[in-house]
Assembly symmetry: C2
Homo-oligomer: 228 residues x 2
Amino acid sequence: MTERVEVRQSVLKENDRIAAELRTGFAGRQLLVLNLISSPGAGKTTILEGTLEALRATRRRTAVLTGDIQTERDAERLRGHGFPALQITTGGTCHLDAAMVQRALAGLPLDDLDVLFIENVGNLVCPASYDLGEDTKIVVLSVAEGDDKPLKYPGIFRRARLMLLHKIDLLPYTRFNREAAIADARRVNPDIEVVETSCLAEPGLGAWIRWLEARIEEKRLAGRPTRG
Amino acid sequence: MTERVEVRQSVLKENDRIAAELRTGFAGRQLLVLNLISSPGAGKTTILEGTLEALRATRRRTAVLTGDIQTERDAERLRGHGFPALQITTGGTCHLDAAMVQRALAGLPLDDLDVLFIENVGNLVCPASYDLGEDTKIVVLSVAEGDDKPLKYPGIFRRARLMLLHKIDLLPYTRFNREAAIADARRVNPDIEVVETSCLAEPGLGAWIRWLEARIEEKRLAGRPTRG
């Protein structure tokens, strides 16, 4: 088992090295990069579909990398919204790593983007450990999943800047305790921001789009770092 | 990366060895062992709570091992139903393995049980690869997760004997296509059985309990293997 732990540590160290390279490259382009993490079926792809439509309206230049074990389905769905979307098929691996992202970036017009979404493999556990060079991790929690998730999967809630409390329209049909879920998320991460969203009914994605536009604007104003 | 693959293969081989030992031990006791796998929040623990109540009524001797990354919450919930329930806290590992189960079994009255439920860590990916010596893997898919899961996570749907299509009462509030989900599950596993369930409204757990009682009865009639 020691051998296993050592291999994992060396894998994570190599991942961090590549992620640091990616981060430098993103910063030099004032490119906002968001890493979306959730359980399978929490609603990441559907949120991204609505988000791409909103960003098309405000003329934000956008692209998506979407991770999946096997299929190309999500990229096909996302390409329908007028922006480049590339699938990273992990072939069984339960998370994206920085090297997979680095390889996929070759297919994207990085110099001409304002925001890049990385949709991770549906998994609340493993993706939390892999830095992809993003500005921010975002955790999506569907109210259909139950309010106990922040304490059961603290790793991702600790590392995320934002929790999207999604499918909030299902609240009346579940036993989800919204106050308890938010309080628990803040127990593991006092700074976590919370935005409520839904795609099939009110309140929609408005509050999330406003949060996102503010982050894109911050990044744009951050200024291109001077280079030698 | 080769080193990583080799370590993973040797870990899985050692796991299979322990799982084979466990399976022999379970068979010798005519003990039915079910390994429940799903996304986080699909409803495994709530299904088990209802199941334990039903099995108490039919006087089936039952126990639960429940896996979690961090907390003891699920075992506490399950112990409220009058049967032994032990938590396996994996400390960050995203699945149960056979060695964890073997260690936990020391705390259970194996000779006095009809059925043992192993509730895996909430994760559709990694738990599918680890044999725990069970008779049957069961995949729980909540309709709130979307109908694309069987093709996106084929590993577990291929290995499961039964799919519980759960929270079926949420069907009217989602875009879940029940026929497509079942057809896709059968594309990856033509033999998979499907039972629809819900805990908060009709149809309840009746069909699942009947399926389960039939399996317990089969196992009881399978006869104790002769020993030297």
